[in-house]
């Protein structure tokens, strides 16, 4: 018999990786120049977790996926126009600041409160998904703190695979040092899984899924509660782009033999 899962995916929005980023300091602390007009995407590792969640829910009838996302309403709407076409979910938007510089602990508190208040969520069936790190702050702490706040003490980070058994227990593969995976067996939900890349390709856009999702996404966005994040005493001494620019020697006039000899010597040198 299939297990009914309640999967909550925490996923932020991040600047498109191809954008040039320039830090600026404003009255509220550091941020990115023109941050609100930079094209945004769903955080890549968190997006992997969303696709894995939808896949898992699809294999277990009766399961449901929520997507909890904190960001400015307008940017969330823009990103959802694409994400909504990928897989089915119910969006839980929280209208708040964007970017990697706000404090992770405050972010976790807001997310945990939103999840705890989800109508119809059975916390005994809860799998809390997200990326193991964001592409903004990249701290890898938010999901753990959300889990702690929800009282979940079975947590896995750098997850690439979950295999659910009929009795509700599951096996998890977590990335560890040296390109290896630690294999763990967990008795069952609730659990926190911070995903790495996973094994699924990005789903193709499906306009029908998009239309079904958008019926609930637009009202949810309109009702999104604005929130502010406490700084928790976090003080930025400096925020800057790395200045190191290398003087590149472009070698155009050497034969492959000469290049190979130079490289072999370089490889062997201490």
């Amino acid at each position: 018999m299939a297990n009914v899962l309640h999967i909550v995916v925490c996923a932020g929005i991040v600047p498109d990786p191809l954008q040039t980023l320039e830090p600026v300091t404003g009255p509220n602390g550091p941020g990115l120049k023109n941050e609100m007009v930079l094209p945004a995407v769903l955080d890549p590792w968190a997006a992997s977790s969303l696709y894995e969640a939808a896949n898992l829910a699809g294999k277990n009838p009766g399961s449901k996926v929520w997507l909890v996302s904190l960001g400015p309403k307008a940017k969330l709407q823009q990103v959802m126009m694409t994400v909504a076409q990928k897989v089915a979910f119910e969006l839980v938007p929280i209208d708040g600041p964007i970017g990697g510089f706000p404090d992770a602990h405050s972010t976790a508190a807001v997310l945990a409160d939103a999840i705890a208040a989800l109508p119809g969520l059975d916390r005994n069936r809860l799998l809390l998904f997200g990326g193991w790190e964001s592409a903004t702050r990249g701290a890898g702490v938010t999901l753990q703190i959300v889990g702690e706040r929800l009282g979940i003490t079975d947590q896995f980070q750098g997850v690439d695979q979950i295999d659910l058994n009929e009795d509700g227990s599951f096996e998890v593969l977590e990335r560890i040092e040296g390109g290896r995976h630690q294999v763990s067996a967990c008795a069952g939900t609730p659990a926190v899984l911070g995903w790495a890349t996973g094994n699924l390709a990005e789903p193709r856009n499906n306009p029908q899924v998009g239309m079904a999702n958008m019926r609930t996404i637009m009202p949810a966005l309109q009702k999104a509660k604005p929130t502010t994040l406490a700084a928790n005493g976090l003080r930025y001494v400096s925020v800057s782009l790395p200045k190191q620019q290398r003087t590149t020697r472009v070698v155009k006039d050497m034969t492959p033999d000469q290049i190979a000899a130079e490289l072999a010597e370089w490889i062997g040198a201490e």
Binding site: L21, P30, Q144, R246, P256, A260
Partner: protein, 342 residues
């Protein structure tokens, strides 16, 4: 006055401290000296005797949580162990290695202590207080930050400090008792590629980055994936280098295009991959931003082989760019290294 606790754990042998833990010990000693603070070191493992003896010369107070239940890296037991060590030490600043084992639990521990945490710390400085350096936006923006709140946990990136090496002695260790509920999670093992198929080597001197060009059509109009695989694996065998890949090359498998069979997402460097630390790096057939800007952030001496002399991503990022065909050059490099070995 600050009390600095360095959290450490044993390595996979179960006896010695992990290298990342020894690096954290060095960071802790340096910080304690600078701040004239009390230094405490906490150890987690099934049997910590050998590990503790290796720390005897630090002069620090040594605490340990040990027993079979703490042999496996697991959230519930490791978080409880670290929490107990922090409470007994009454630490105001906690340094810990950014290993998979402690990365899994450190934020949860900080929350339980009512403290705050910052991770991926690459340097600790500050004239009077404590200022931590870390990267944002996947190694694109560097920031120095500070917090007044305590306890403050700092997770250190591997390779940012020298590993502690001191005289081994008979250490006095205070055991800290931890009550655990029956675990719901058990670790059943490690899944790793076969020894000769392992391509990710964190301790290697060199990172070898492969780009999508290896699987593109060559001058004869054909794709030579098999030859590319042989050349790359031959190079790795002869040099002991670690293998990194661009995202596009790894993703090709999902798109149904020819792929190098030994590449997985674990090899990926850059925006959604790793940012490894190696003394040298050699990039081949790669014309993307991610390996050169993000994935190479912590590579010392960088060289690239590219057919495009105007590749904007290598300019200013690599020390040397050879404008040449990587198939030809790597084949000849392998011949030279093979001859040298013989």
């Amino acid at each position: 006055m600050e009390t600095i606790l360095v959290l450490t754990h044993v390595d996979e042998t179960g006896a010695a401290l992990s290298k990342a833990s020894l690096e954290a010990v060095t960071a802790g000693k340096e910080l304690a000296t600078r701040l004239a603070a009390t230094l405490v070191i906490g150890i987690v493992g099934a049997d910590v005797t050998t590990a503790a003896n290796a720390l005897a010369s630090t002069g620090a107070r040594l605490l340990a949580v040990s027993g079979e239940r703490f042999a496996q890296p697991r959230y519930a037991s490791d978080a409880a162990a670290c929490e107990a060590l922090c409470r007994v030490a009454q630490a105001t600043i906690v340094l810990a290695p950014g290993s998979a084992r402690f990365t899994r639990v450190a934020a949860g521990v900080a929350h339980r202590l009512g403290g705050l945490i910052d991770t991926h710390i690459t340097a600790i400085g500050g004239a009077e207080g404590v200022e931590a350096t870390r990267w944002f936006y996947r190694q694109r923006v560097e920031a120095v930050l500070s917090r007044d709140a305590r306890p403050w946990l700092l997770l250190l990136d591997a390779g940012t400090h020298a590993a502690f090496a001191g005289e081994t002695g008979a250490a006095q260790v205070e055991q800290v008792a931890v009550e655990l509920p029956e675990p719901r999670t058990t670790v059943s093992g490690i899944r790793a590629p076969m020894q000769d198929a392992q391509t990710i080597r964190p301790d290697a001197k060199m990172l070898f980055v492969t780009g999508a060009g290896w699987t593109k059509k060559q001058p004869d109009g054909q794709i030579h994936v098999g030859e590319a695989a042989d050349l790359i694996l031959g190079f790795l065998r002869l040099t002991g280098a670690s293998l990194g890949s661009s995202k596009s090359l790894v993703d090709q498998g999902g798109d149904g295009q020819p792929v190098l069979p030994f590449l997985t997402h674990l090899n990926q460097v850059g925006q959604t991959g790793a940012t490894p630390r190696h003394a040298k790096g050699l990039s081949t057939c790669c014309h993307g931003e991610e390996p050169h800007v993000v994935g190479w952030r912590f590579i010392g001496d960088r060289r690239a082989i590219s057919l495009d002399p105007n590749c904007g991503w290598t300019r200013g990022k690599a020390d040397v760019v050879y404008v040449a065909d990587a198939f030809t050059v790597i084949a000849k490099v392998n011949e030279l290294l093979e001859a040298k070995k013989a």
